[in-house]
């Protein structure tokens, strides 16, 4: 088991080779070749149903490819090695992952304890994301923007090496969007990599060094 600060993962690429993935018996992704190096921001655009979320979940090691192969942070997809690297992956999916019955602070404490992180960093994280005054608010009483900020605070604490954002900017005000931009910037500065998915290609072009376009599970263009 790798330790929390194992730096041997820094510099490990993430590669998909002719990878494909299915859900409920339907083929969602086919023949994908993707390489993401540390320090890079990759954008993935495409219409609804193109397979963007499935790609994100594949990169998060949450699903395994049923065609081809892949390495994420050095761990082969579909092998037990993924359990060693998952803690270095951060994900903001379409729906915020916040435990509704806990307060914002309790959510962060829970995550920090499970990760063995210093609980003192929580106060700093709350202040940085602008939720210090709302830390006692329960998840089910939070607005969508507050939930996203809570996720951002959690990602600031966990310091992922691979940051995956699935429509993370949707529905957010300017302040919250700038916060996620700052999170992306910090991940890159710490030699991590970022993959961001959006149906808004123009939005991706502003932020990503490379933009892929997915259509019907296949990679069509790279800009």
């Amino acid at each position: 088991m790798l330790s929390p600060d194992d730096t041997s993962l820094v510099g490990s690429n993430t590669i998909l080779e002719a990878a494909g993935a299915s859900l409920s018996g339907r083929s969602i992704l086919r023949g994908l070749d993707v390489e993401i190096s540390p320090g890079q921001v990759l954008g993935v655009a495409g219409p609804n149903g193109a397979g963007k979320t499935t790609l994100i979940r594949l990169l998060a090691t949450l699903i395994s490819p049923d065609q081809g192969s892949g390495l994420v942070l050095g761990a082969r997809l579909g092998s037990p090695d993924v359990y060693d690297v998952r803690r270095f992956i951060g994900l903001m999916s379409h729906t915020p992952a916040v435990i509704a019955e806990l307060t914002i602070r309790e959510n962060l404490e829970h995550a920090a304890r499970l990760r063995g992180e210093d609980l003192k960093r929580i106060d700093t994280a709350l202040r940085v994301v602008g939720l210090a005054g709302a830390a006692a608010t329960r998840g089910d009483a939070c607005s969508f923007g507050m939930l996203r900020r809570t996720e951002a605070a959690r990602l600031l604490i966990t310091r992922p090496r691979l940051l995956l954002l699935d429509e993370a900017f949707s529905g957010l005000d300017v302040d919250a969007q700038e916060l996620i931009d700052a999170l992306i910037e910090r991940t890159i500065e710490q030699d991590g990599a970022v993959v961001m998915v959006s149906h808004d290609q123009a939005h991706l072009v502003d932020r990503a060094a490379r933009v892929m376009t997915l259509s019907a599970g296949r990679l069509e263009t790279v800009t």
Binding site: R57, A60, L62, I63, S64, P80, Y83, R86, R87, I89, G90, L91, S93, T95, P96, A97, I99, E101, L102, E106, H110, A111, R113, L114, R115, G116, T158
Partner: protein, 224 residues
Amino acid sequence: MTFWAQAVEIARVDLRVERRLGDVLRVVLPFAVVGLLVFPFALGVDLSAISLIGPAVFWAVGILFGMQVALRQAAHDNRERRDLYALLGVDPAARFVGRTISGSVLMVGFLVVLLAAMIVLYSPLLPQGWPVPVIVGLCLTAVGLTELGTLAGEVTAGLRNRTALASLIIVPLALPLVIGGSQTLESLARDTGILPWLLLLVATDLALAVAGVAMARSLEEASR
């Protein structure tokens, strides 16, 4: 964080959530006591029969309604929460153990209160020295039922009609628990030795624990 520290943290938060929601205390437990009230209406008011069937009704109601306690966590589970725990590096086996710990605490409380309600309502004839062996049997049953509920919740994760499906999976597999628990009291009354029944409960709990820990990763992958 170590395996056991993760399990304890999972259990701690789960109990905190339950304290806030009050599903077991405010909904399932009253529902189960109403279940105890329904049986005599169906049987008529022959008092001697009611005293005799009290323990049997307790175990039937305890298992059927106890499933709601066991499946409680599954009801709050969603894909985002499962992904969150996976990416926080939580060992699926630690998650299983943590849920079993918190679920067992709630299940023991539930069954103890239900037992007290049965004793008041049915006035069963209880043998001498019944409390300790019956409570031990009850605790072992609670652990086994919670393990079954946690496993069934994982097997049915994300499926349509999950609650009914999980209940259908649990009930037949809970038969050793029903037999072990109920026969503990029966054998006390007959003075024929309770050890085989307690051992049956221990064996069932251990088998489910081993299955849960060994299959945790596979169950997690299958639920995606």
